[in-house]
Amino acid sequence: MTDLKTLEATVLAEIAAASDEAALEAVRVSALGKKGSVSERLKMLGTMTPEERKQMGPALNGLKTSVGEALAARKAELHREAIAARLAAETVDVTLPVRQAPAERGRIHPISQVIDEITAIFGDLGFAIAEGPDIETDYYNFTALNFPEGHPAREMHDTFFFPPGENGERKLLRTHTSPVQIHTMEAQKPPIRIVIPGKTYRQDSDATHSPMFHQLEGLVVDRTSTVANMKWVLEEFCKAFFEVPSLNMRFRPSFFPFTEPSLELDIQCDRSRPGEVRFGEGSDWMEILGCGMVHPNVLRMSGLDPDEYQGFAWGMGIDRIATLKYGMPDLRDYFNADTRWLQHYGFRPLDLPTLFGGLST
């Protein structure tokens, strides 16, 4: 029995000392293999007397079990150690930078983003988006919009002209998106509810004027629309667009050749912080757009009877309202394609303006 205890101690010590799975396997073979030290003893049970067997049997089987368990335990332990060692060897420096996804690098120009915001709002109000060409005729840009002959806007110092064509007519770059009002009324009978975003051009260049800029025109024509409806549409638009909890607005009489009565919309704001306009506070007023009831002459020239049909129109600078909302200081930068400006003022490609998700959140 002392002999067995010694054997067990020796084998268990060998198991504990096995430093890898191969060494452990060698120990298993030397103990439990065909000719292993424990197996040899078990074979001897057959030669024993029943008394001896009765005594030695359980002892030897106990030895076999304890060696087997020790082997399994050591094997599991060695396996864990091996994995731990592999994982340790596989360690990397996770602070190394990864490349930015393309979608994080790309940018949408503020003008496109703001047009999408506008589209979301007016789409909700039941307006369709109309478009028209940049190169226009004098008729659509001026005459049909009730600009008198000799109006300063018709001069070379205001409007870009092309050389006269074969018929003597000078085409021009539209100075506003209003010609699309006429195209629409010619093509479609009322009711009309459209907004028209687009490029417009004037002979102007400074921090707040660019020879190319973007306008948003709106037109509603039916049999009932009034200044009261116009106030509602434009106030609702401004509240939605500027995304401020409160917005104090005022309409005041003004003048445009193509509307009568004509109004301008001012928004109360605080301009005391340089480079920033805060709506809903302060005591300054900022003009935001011009609007009015479509002039009877304009309706008439578009083939609509002004005593039967009526409606309103408005125009505002997209670049300007973008500036007011997002704070770009100089209009000319819009068209410089400076990567730093685009990166800073541009929008991420998956920031899609929606009303359900908030225009700019």
Binding site: Q100, G106, V227, T339
Partner: protein, 815 residues
């Protein structure tokens, strides 16, 4: 248009406060742009110098003891030569801001002597340029009182921005009329008592250009004594930014602002012979009152005498016949000038004057004579003299219709006004009596019955802008109050909004987002580009060249987005940002008709700005951009726009601006060109002053066919095969000229049922396979449909693939 509060109150009897007046002006369409309430002058008080001693350490300085009216006298160091004991002047205490020197005063030591304030000059208070000494007031000026209040300098100045339709508001009287009409006081009578002249005006007037001059009134005043105008008048002129000259000139300026009625005065001694109103002769010159010489054209109207041109009609008088202190006989002119001709002349000569401002808007024709009388009365009052009778000559009348003919031949317009029109157009309910009362207060005169549904009004001569009933709606609306119009919701037409964008608009948006998702930045570049850039890209046609570009290099409508984008990329590179990917989705111009304006998505990548990123990186540096980056962008934009990507064909080569061997053309069918892509030709880059590596593309969103209308949104049924998909690799040796696209199509065509996909995973060229050969390795995805394929099936499929490739391309399986 500027005026002061007291000036307004000359014409308007009102208790309204400055704030109320300012608010009302804006709300009736006379937008207030600024108000100067003269708060800056509040700190200055009248003070008396008690003693003036020489400064112990400075010859030119004096030490004054000043009684400021409160407390003990204060010590002030002063350098003014007129500082003396007994002088009464304007004193600023420490803490006061002195606008003329832009300094807030504090107690200071000047050469060792403490100074507790300052005695000010007019310039220091920004009252005038006077700075030879400190302000020297009459002895009886009340010490301790507010200087501004005592000197009537606290009169607030209001500036309004006038819309071009309101010539009547270019005079203080017209502004008062509008305010009175809105209920903010009572308009005082503006009637001018006629001047009784003695004898005919010795200078006659001939209108040789009656179309440019509807009327001309002239009067001589003999024996005037010219000199400074009264202080109150000078103060008003200074307050609105005008410089007092002398009484005769100041009167013309005063009437210009008081009544919107510009006058002109000639020194009669300097006028030779009679006056003629005529068109200028080509090249004729005039030395104007601003000291500049102007060269005139026959489109311009002038007043001339035997000496030549004496005045540019309606814009500016001539220097040679101007009135000076020594003038004794003065010719006063009150004329009417054609608004359009005046505007054009002013623009061409670049002259902006208060007269032009009024004449180009339209001066009240019926106030021509009264204006002359008003000016004459003021001249008589300030300068004395004996007036002649007026010489009045009429040209072509001012208005086109109406029955009543006024004293200058003005045809008064008449407008029929249905009283319901205000409600119809504005939603505002204004009752009959109020509507009529508003119009009457504005000077409209009802003609005939006023109890019917329609009332006829005669339009006042000072409102050339009123044309029809909508104009009267505006008058009623603005005077009754725009803010009384309650916003009313626009009736909803559908419960749930329907689609509002056209296919092209959707494509434009989709292409933008798709390109931005590929790491590109959206640019908006100019529609007009330099002529040589346009010519490089197939543009430069005369019809697309601006006659009046704002700059020489913004002259031609762009035929392509690429020149602008390449130039933009280069600008960024010049700033140190060479790895840049830009795109634009916008218009290009193939001609001047609407259908010639294309909707194009274009982009460029420069340096190493690839899809994966740019520049060096520890995990692998970015490659330089090339034709395949541009191709991938082009296809992504087309796919976003809804083009059938699997049906597109790619042809080698593109337009001249591309690298001939590294560019391609994307087509749908043989004719429909959808886009081009590639690296650029070195000549193109050189001409654009740009350098590579750079690649780019353009796709035509408007060329993508409109999707077919579908009866249902249901997608085609998807049948999923239960059998395992397998992949097999092949490598074919083909001639170098064989396009990979042809080879892959040949493979795919070998068995359209089993072959689910073909991709190229390697292209190899080398001596081992022959100098004019290349090897293309492909992976074929096979999807069994009916049963698991056997080895024999695969062999048969492989044989079909090899045979078809050989047939289509001459390629052989690489051994």
């Amino acid at each position: 248009m500027k005026f002061t509060l007291s000036w307004l109150k000359d014409h308007l009897d009102t208790d309204a406060s400055l704030d109320e007046i300012v608010e009302r002006l804006t709300m009736i369409g006379l937008e207030v742009e600024s108000v100067d309430d003269k708060a800056a002058l509040k700190p200055f008080v009248i003070a008396r110098v008690l003693t003036a001693e020489k400064h112990p350490d400075a010859d030119k300085l004096k030490v004054l003891s000043v009684d400021t009216g409160s407390g003990a006298p204060v010590q002030v160091v002063c350098g003014a030569p007129n500082a003396r004991a007994g002088l009464v002047g304007a004193f600023a205490a420490p803490g006061a801001y002195v606008p003329g020197i832009d300094v807030t005063l504090s107690v200071g030591k000047i050469r060792g002597v403490e100074s507790h304030g300052m005695m000010c000059s007019e310039r220091e208070l920004q009252l005038s340029d006077e700075h030879t000494g400190i302000i020297d007031l009459p002895d009886n000026a009340p010490v301790g009182a507010s200087f501004a209040e005592w000197a009537k300098l606290d009169d607030p100045v209001i500036e309004i921005g006038l819309t071009p339709n309101r010539p009547d508001a270019t005079g203080v009287y017209g502004i008062a009329r509008d305010l009175a009409a809105s209920g903010l006081g009572t308009l005082r009578s503006g009637a001018v008592e006629p001047v009784e002249g003695k004898g005919k005006c010795p200078v006659s007037v001939t209108l040789e250009a009656p179309d440019l001059c509807p009327g001309f009134a002239l009067r001589l005043v003999r024996g005037v004594k010219n000199g400074p105008s009264p202080k109150w008048l000078q103060q008003r002129l200074i307050a609105i930014g005008l410089r007092p000259i002398n009484a005769l000139v100041d009167v013309t300026n005063y009437v210009t602002f008081d009544r919107g009625r510009p006058l002109h005065v000639f020194d009669a001694a300097k006028v030779k012979g009679n006056l003629v109103v005529r068109r200028a002769r080509a090249g004729e010159k005039v030395l104007a009152l601003d000291g500049a010489e102007y060269t005139l054209t026959p489109d311009m109207c002038v007043i001339a005498d035997d000496n030549g041109v004496e005045s540019i009609a309606g814009i500016m008088g001539g220097e040679l016949s101007g009135c000076e202190d020594g003038t004794t006989d003065v010719l006063i002119e009150s004329a009417l000038w054609d608004p359009m001709a005046t505007a054009r002349t002013g623009r061409e000569l670049g002259i902006i004057t208060d007269a032009r401002y009024r004449f180009e808007r339209g001066v009240d024709p019926e106030f021509m004579g009264a204006g002359l009388d008003l000016g004459t009365r003021m001249v008589l009052e300030f300068c004395g003299g004996t007036p002649s009778e007026p010489e009045i000559v009429l040209g072509t009348p001012t208005a086109r219709d109406g029955e009543i003919v006024g004293e200058t031949g003005h045809h008064y317009r008449e407008v029929d006004f249905p009283l319901s029109e205000t409600k119809r157009l504005t939603g505002l309910d204004v009752d009959r009596a109020e509507s009529i009362a508003i119009l009457k207060r504005l000077g409209f005169v009802p003609k005939g019955a006023t109890d019917g549904a329609v009332v006829r009004f005669v339009v006042p001569s000072w409102r050339p802008d009123i044309d029809g009933k909508a104009d009267l709606v505006e008058e009623v609306m603005r005077i009754h109050g725009v803010n009384r119009i309650a916003p009313a919701p626009l009736p909803q037409t559908t419960a749930v909004g329907s689609r509002i964008l056209t296919t092209l608009q959707n494509r434009t948006r989709a292409a933008r987002r798709a390109l931005a998702v590929r790491g590109m930045m959206e640019a908006v570049t100019w529609s007009f580009i330099p002529e040589r850039h346009a010519a490089l890209f197939g543009g430069g046609a005369p019809a697309l060249k601006l006659s009046n570009p704002i700059a020489a290099d913004m002259s031609d409508m762009r035929p392509s987005l690429l020149p602008g984008l390449i130039a933009a990329a280069q600008r960024n590179a010049d700033r140190g940002f060479g790895d840049i990917a830009l795109f634009e989705v916008s218009g290009t111009y193939q001609g001047d008709r609407p259908e010639d304006q294309r909707r194009v998505a274009g982009g460029v990548r420069r340096g190493t700005a690839t899809l994966e990123g740019a520049g060096r990186h520890w995990a692998g540096n970015a490659a330089t951009v090339g034709v395949f980056d541009a191709k991938a962008d082009a296809l992504a934009a087309l796919e976003a726009a809804g083009a059938p990507i699997d049906k597109l064909t790619i042809e080698a080569g593109g337009p001249d601006w591309y690298h001939p061997g590294r560019s391609g053309t994307i087509k749908l069918g043989p004719k429909n060109l959808l886009g081009t892509f590639g690296e650029f030709h070195p000549d193109t880059l050189e001409a654009l002053d740009a350098a590579g590596p750079i690649c780019g593309f353009e796709v035509y969103l408007d060329a993508v066919p409109e999707p077919k209308a579908k009866a249902t949104r249901t997608k085609p049924r998807l049948d999923l095969s239960p059998f395992q998909a397998v992949k097999r690799d092949f490598a074919f040796v083909v001639d170098k000229g064989v396009a990979a696209g042809v080879l892959t199509r040949a493979v795919a065509a070998a068995d359209k049922k089993l072959i689910a996909g073909v991709s190229v995973f390697d292209v190899f060229e080398g001596a081992s396979i022959g100098a004019d050969k290349k090897s293309i390795a492909i992976e074929v995805a096979i999807q069994p449909q009916e049963r698991t394929l056997t080895d024999e099936d695969f062999e048969a499929l492989s044989a079909r693939i090899v045979a078809n490739v050989e047939k289509q391309t001459g390629g052989v399986l690489r051994g």
